[in-house]
């Protein structure tokens, strides 16, 4: 689980162009949207693409997306349970 979270941190920085950030600066339980990491709606779409392209997981229900993309921990748990 920890290695998957570390992998997700690196992917997030690369795919979402968070160039000012280092993996260590992102907490596993930090909120990805809102006051946390401050991701926006386009980033949410990129996360959906990332899940499908890299882990073969399709997220089509917006409510499911809200649950999955809360934190890196919730993303990792969903990947583990569904891939």
């Amino acid at each position: 689980m920890d290695s998957l979270i570390e992998e997700l941190k690196i992917k997030l920085i690369k795919e979402l162009n968070l160039e000012d950030m280092e993996p260590d600066e992102i907490e596993a339980d930090q909120a990805l949207f809102g006051d946390g990491l401050g991701l926006d709606s386009i980033d949410a779409l990129e996360l959906i693409v990332l899940m499908e392209r890299d882990y073969g997981i399709k997220i089509t229900d917006p409510n499911k997306g809200r649950e999955v993309f809360v934190t890196l921990t919730s993303m990792a748990e969903y990947i583990k349970a569904n891939s």
């Binding site: 979402l16 162009n17 160039e19 386009i42 980033d43 779409l45 990129e46 693409v49 499908e52 392209r53």
Partner: protein, 199 residues
């Protein structure tokens, strides 16, 4: 109408009026702009998410809006009149490539040229009129005519007139002019003066 200020970004060089503000050894646009962004300690993380053409426009606007007394103008009193020749062709091509796998939403949002005006407007809190034209070459007459029309028909007091064109990492240019409705400024806003300053 008068030109209050002008600046340019091309060939790894940023000028503020006639003065060279920054010069880089980086041959490619994106590392060159990143170098400037870092050296100026700008803090706007969204910069990293922009495509190259938006980054070019954004940095040019950062220079243009320095020390102009922005607070004198209401957000609705500033308009944007921009043009280029490439529209967003480079990003269109990148987006097209991405559609062969899974289309990238982050690329898609940059496949309209007026997005660069949006980035400038958000950063500088501009809520006035905005126009983007695609013309084969820099067309001072078109920009002049449109600016004149904006001043005549709206409450605009300040217009950012811009040419922002990105073809590749080594072939790009941004030229921005700040035009005031008043009769005071560096130069009268004439077609000849725009052409002369664009050289």
């Amino acid at each position: 109408m008068h030109i209050l200020k002008y600046c340019s970004v091309s060939d790894a060089e940023i000028t503020d009026g006639s003065e060279v503000l920054f010069k880089s050894n980086e041959k490619d646009l994106k590392p060159f702009l990143k170098e400037f962004y870092k050296s100026e300690k700008l803090e706007y993380p969204k910069f990293y998410k922009m495509d190259a053409q938006c980054k070019l426009a954004f940095i040019a606007a950062e220079v243009l809006f320095r020390n102009i007394g922005r607070e004198q103008y209401q957000n609705e009193e500033i308009a944007l009149v921009f043009a280029n020749s490439e529209s967003t062709l480079a990003t269109d091509m990148s987006y097209w490539e991405s559609t062969k796998n899974i289309a990238s939403p982050a690329l898609f949002v940059y496949t309209l040229p007026n997005i660069l005006m949006g980035e400038i407007a958000i950063r500088n809190k501009i809520k006035g009129e905005n126009y983007f034209f695609v013309s084969e070459n820099f067309d001072a007459q078109l920009l002049h005519q449109q600016t004149e029309m904006v001043f005549q028909n709206t409450a605009t007091k300040l217009v950012v007139v811009g040419w922002v064109n990105y073809e590749s990492e080594t072939n790009y240019s941004a030229k921005l002019f700040l035009i005031s409705k008043s009769e005071v400024g560096l130069f009268p806003f004439t077609i000849d003066n725009i052409n002369n300053l664009n050289k």
